[in-house]
């Protein structure tokens, strides 16, 4: 595994994304353009063949990061590297390598194009297979996501939400990407359907060796699917660790609060000590010092002043909390019986 770590599928360094609001003529005259920092210095690696989960609440910047990764928006500062990619490859080739699956399977499929025609367009454009084999390859893609040949001639409106999400995944796979960025791909689906889509992601990872960045807010889903988790808060990554380690031994108070907020299916909420008050502040108005301090139950004077960076606090465990060392051993590790 060591060589795969050395050569990740994607590496982002120093990514910052700022939006200027009120940039119009009136805004310029008034000079009152506000700056929204959606992302503020993101460093992250997606390893080859892993599922990396990106979790955080609304406004944390996780969707903006996804857009930057698939090159649908450009960062203000920082770079996205694809270490495996051919440096001489054209833009279309670079774009092909990273594909995306969207949250809403109703808006992500064109209502006026049949499934077959949608897949054929991509297969022909990228010359994935010879023209004569386009139909055959489309059927293979559909089978891959658990659909059958008869879906080729159907329009998206003839499918249920779960089936649509499968079609969207087939489309992403059509161009044989190395990396899949999935932005909340199951949160719009019914519970009983979610499981099949999660299964599908898992088998794609295992059998096609895809590297998947999985954006989600449901920690139970994340725990089931991912190998590593990165937690985002207000445009920063505040903690990164292997999934088991992160949930058993969270070293950032925000991560702990997130875990304690999960509505558990057995027993009651585990640890009331780590309830946090209020809501994430507006990205227009990022607090001084540690950006989590206004909601943090253990914040000290220093937290109000110093802005902590993401630090190595254990083997393969990073946290952006100055008090990470002091965080008590976590009593809420997922143990059903204890929780009762």
């Amino acid at each position: 595994m060591s060589d795969t770590i050395a050569d990740p599928a994607l590496r982002v360094s120093g990514i910052t994304k700022e939006y200027r609001i009120g940039q119009g003529i009136v805004g310029r005259l008034g000079g009152g353009a506000a700056t929204l920092k959606a992302l503020d210095g993101i460093d992250l690696e997606l390893r080859r063949g892993e599922v990396l989960a990106l979790v955080g609440e609304s406004g944390s910047g996780k969707s903006t990061l996804a857009k930057i990764l698939v090159n649908s928006t450009t960062p203000t500062h920082g770079t996205v590297e694809e270490p495996g990619a051919d440096a001489a490859a054209g833009n279309r080739e670079r774009a092909r390598r990273v594909q995306m699956v969207f949250q809403d399977p109703y808006s992500s499929l064109n209502p006026r194009i049949t499934v077959g025609s949608m897949l054929a367009e991509l297969l022909k454009l990228h010359k994935i297979v010879p023209r004569a084999q386009v139909r055959q390859e489309s059927i293979r893609l559909l089978n891959l996501v658990g659909l059958q040949e008869d879906a080729l001639d159907a329009y998206p409106s003839q499918f249920s939400g779960g089936q649509r999400q499968r079609i969207a995944i087939a489309r992403a796979l059509a161009v044989r990407p190395d990396v899949l960025v999935a932005d909340e791909p199951v949160s719009a689906l019914d519970v009983s359907v979610q499981a099949t889509i999660l299964d599908l992601f898992r088998s794609l990872q295992r059998e096609l060796g895809l590297s998947i960045l999985f954006i989600a807010h449901n920690l139970a889903v994340v725990q089931h699917l991912s190998q590593r988790v990165a937690v985002m808060y207000l445009g920063r990554i505040v903690e990164v660790a292997d999934t088991g380690e992160l949930f058993a031994n969270p070293r950032h108070p925000y991560t702990r609060a997130l875990i304690d907020s999960i509505p558990r299916m057995t027993g009651d909420s585990v640890n009331d000590e780590f309830d946090i008050e209020g809501e994430p502040p507006s990205p227009f108005d990022v607090p001084s010092g540690c950006r989590f301090h206004p909601r943090c139950p253990i914040a000290t004077e220093r937290c109000r002043v110093d802005d902590p960076a993401l630090m190595q606090i254990g083997p393969a465990h990073l946290s952006a909390c100055m008090l990470a060392e002091d965080l008590a051993p976590y009593p809420g590790a997922p143990l059903a019986e204890e929780a009762r």
Binding site: E57, S58, S160, D190, V191, S192, V193, Q194, A195, T196, L198, D199, H217, N218, L219, A220, V221, Q223, H224, G244, F247, A257, L258, I259, D260, S261, I262, P263, R264, M265, T266, G267, D268, S269, D275, I276, E277, G278, E279, P280, P334, L335, A336, A339
Partner: protein
């Protein structure tokens, strides 16, 4: 149940009436009772009819959908056969409702403080000043920081979590006996959801308000409710105490739901999806609505629809094969 239930829904069917064809039922023959101070959860997937049921109780059915038959009795009085103004008078001091998206339920051009004060003024006969004081007090109780200043705000100036708290303050301002909640936390972030759920729980305990809580999230229902009804394709398939049902379901659909949902406390458990789709309302199967997707179905299930019957003490399930399927798994 020894005392008279607060709410009792009997043989309730909801659907679309047609002029020259039989009506299409979306919810069929629903029966359940809610005692005073009870916290009752209704879970089901989209299209199961759970929200419609709630809206029927609140007299907020969308256009085109009507009560086809049955009754909804509130303290022994049938809401459906009550004069319209009498029923309207119940809204607020007796029955209140909160919605998934507060923005659609709040008046965008009215200050939130006035909106909360409106109902107590009308129903409790408070003066303007008294109502305002009550509104600010309610806002404080719902954990809104700086309530005096926030009372002057308009809904769009507040965050999603605060708006949801405003709606809770509004719903509870006249101390209703029954609070209907339609996925009130689905649109909120996890940490905020946690806060709002705890708030609801605490307020209802303080005032003795009964809660009917509709959600698709099994974790949320476990955190919030004591009693549970599982709905599928317009009918209740299982009913009982939340803890008991989760520990040992007696209907294959309930089992399917529990097996397909990721449980944070059991990360290693494999997720098993329910194959197939729920039936279309206009094309319901003749027998058990779940039979086409049920791995345990026998021939009988396709021919006759099972009724909700006692399966265990304090538990009812609508499944012919319940005993065979769940033999030895009883909690």
């Amino acid at each position: 149940m020894s005392e008279e239930p607060l709410l009792s829904v009997k043989k309730l069917s909801l659907g679309i009436r047609r002029t020259n064809a039989p009506a299409t039922a979306i919810v069929e023959d629903l029966d359940f009772e809610i005692a005073s101070g009870e916290r009752f959860g209704i879970v089901g997937e989209s299209g199961s009819g759970k929200s419609l049921t709630l809206r029927a109780i609140a007299n907020l059915l969308p256009r085109g959908i009507e009560v086809l038959s049955g009754s909804i009795e509130y303290r022994g009085q049938d809401l459906l056969r009550m004069p319209a103004d009498a029923r309207r008078r119940l809204a607020g001091p007796e029955i209140a409702m909160i919605f998934q998206e507060p923005m659609t339920a709040l008046n965008p051009v009215m200050r939130v403080g006035e909106q909360i004060a409106e109902s107590p003024r009308r129903h409790l006969g408070l003066s303007k000043a008294e109502a305002k004081a009550l509104a600010i007090d309610m806002m404080r109780k719902t954990g809104i920081p700086d309530p005096v200043r926030r009372a002057e705000a308009y809904p769009h100036e507040l965050s999603g979590g605060l708006r949801q708290r405003i709606m809770i303050a509004m719903a509870l301002s006249c101390s209703p006996k029954l609070l209907l909640c339609d996925e009130p936390t689905t649109a909120l972030d996890v940490t905020v959801q946690h806060q709002v759920l705890r708030l609801l729980e605490q307020l209802c305990d303080d005032t003795g308000t009964a809660l009917v809580f509709v959600t698709h999230d099994l974790g949320v229902v476990n955190q919030t409710c004591r009693e549970l009804a599982v709905m599928y394709a317009g009918g209740i398939v299982e009913r009982g105490k939340v803890k008991d049902v989760f520990a040992g379901p007696r209907h294959p659909y309930t089992k399917g739901l529990l097996d397909s949902a990721p449980d944070f406390d059991q990360p290693e458990r494999e997720l098993i999806a329910i194959p197939g789709f729920p039936p279309n309302v206009s094309n319901r199967p003749r027998g058990c609505a779940f039979a086409p997707r049920c791995t345990f179905a026998v021939e009988h299930c396709l021919e006759e629809a099972p009724a909700l019957e006692p399966a265990l003490p304090g538990r009812e399930a609508a499944c012919f094969e319940s005993d065979r399927i769940f033999e030895g798994t009883a909690a």
